[in-house]
Symmetry: C2
Subunit: 250 residues, 2 copies
DNA sequence: AGAGCGCAGAGCGTATACAATATGGGGCGA
DNA sequence: TCGCCCCATATTGTATACGCTCTGCGCTCT
């Protein structure tokens, strides 16, 4: 049944999404796989904020019907990775400055608080795993693979939160990290990635020593440094600007 | 079939829309309205943990097709109010003890942290609104309307978080409060509601005085007292228990 | 010539139909 | 009589079809 349906280039704006996710066999009818693919594409900045996600285009790409795509989009919308406008369809969320501040404030609160629990509960295997992730991230950075690095960085923070033992809070952190990736895409500088080169390694050292308090403080500085590396200003708003501007004239 | 329609419309007190625009009376075809109804029914313990939510039963009740119901159920599932088991359908989530602990730990962390910001930003109108909500809750308690009281209590906490100005964290709190309602349904004592009689009023007083630090401490005690009022032990699990018990025999 | 109106197309929203699967009961065999 | 297997049924999973609304372009009227 019509196998060679490659990525049908229907997007305006020349953002070509390289070759599909997992290659040819990706006719995975499993919806969670589709979710993963789209989510990864967004977090990895292959789909940039503002990009429209048309239902039948996606349905075509993944070889399922719109029904499944809608499910995926709805889930992504609840996680605030995509924005669903009533009759216009879905697009990758473009976080406002305010949202960005909220997200980082939330991360500061939650991630720092989880460090102490993580330091206590962490096992050797966990340390190993984290070091591995950090190494992969470093390698991606060396290879100038920003997309991979961003994904790995988000995964690192999420995994760290998971180690606290509180799945609920870890889920929140995971969400916040995904959104942070969007924020970086909008307000970050392309040359400068979110996480400083060796911050994650240093953090692991502190945690491996069981020094939760220092880990917390370090995480605090880490997150603040990420946030301050952004240039968060509302750049030329599109339409609503006009209404604001001429509101007083009427 | 459909043993009893548990999802009847409740007290007309909260009916907000009233704009009966489209023809028929109660059959509001708007999905968000359906979401609200089901969500309220769960939070208000009209639908108890474990209750199955069959798609066509709900579709029948609300006069829409299963498509819309599925959307609603999926959203509720992402908020952890309902559990979706692959081929078995949806049921109201029965939180485990571990989940319950996580939720309260999260509330303790987030809600307390938000108190100081709330104290700073709160206006007189906000104080009024909160007092009004607290009064309604008190009245519901006096009238022995536990369901209403529970809903109002959750709404109070959520509104409080909203006042902090951080929408992201407020959203988390709102979710946590909903889940807390489920936890109360499972581990709480029927005679004893979650929030102590005048705690909310006292909290408002502190906030109105701008005393964020004391409000934070009060909230901490408040939440701890709720949590400690629960009897959190795993009561006779149904099926999976057997597997655990006889796992070593095989 | 400029502006308002109408038509056509595109894309989302909802319903219905069909297919797959788990469950429970009844029949059959040992 | 007990246990196993098979089928009937109930319920979800997925796809397709149709309708509605919004957008963009061309036409006509002034």
């Amino acid at each position: 049944m019509s196998s060679g349906r490659q990525v049908a280039e229907s997007n305006g704006a020349g953002s070509q999404q390289s070759s599909g996710a997992a290659g040819k066999g990706s006719r995975d009818k499993n919806l969670s796989a589709i979710y993963e693919s789209v989510s990864e594409a967004i977090i990895g900045h292959r789909l940039k904020p503002g990009a429209r996600l048309r239902e039948d285009a996606l349905a075509d790409v993944f070889g399922v019907s719109r029904t499944g795509i809608r499910k995926v989009l709805q889930r992504l919308a609840l996680e605030q990775l995509v924005t669903l406008t009533p009759r216009r369809g879905a697009s990758v969320t473009r976080p406002s400055v305010e949202e960005a501040k909220d997200v980082f404030e939330a991360r500061l609160l939650v991630e720092c608080a989880l460090m102490e629990a993580a330091a206590k509960r962490m096992t050797e295997a966990d340390v190993e795993e984290l070091r591995d992730m950090a190494n992969q991230e470093q390698e991606a950075l060396r290879n100038r693979e920003q997309r991979t690095a961003i994904k790995l960085s988000a995964a690192f923070h999420a995994r760290l939160a998971e180690l606290s033992g509180n799945h609920t809070l870890a889920g929140f952190v995971s969400q916040l990290c995904s959104r942070s990736s969007l924020i970086l895409a909008v307000y970050g500088h392309s040359g400068h990635l979110g996480c400083e080169s060796h911050d994650h390694e240093n953090l692991i050292d502190l945690l491996a020593n069981g020094d939760g308090v220092r880990a917390r403080d370090f995480m605090k500085r880490h997150l603040k440094s990420i946030e301050s590396s952004l240039s968060m200003f509302d750049e030329a708003e599109e339409a609503p600007d006009l209404r604001d501007i001429f509101a007083s004239d009427a």
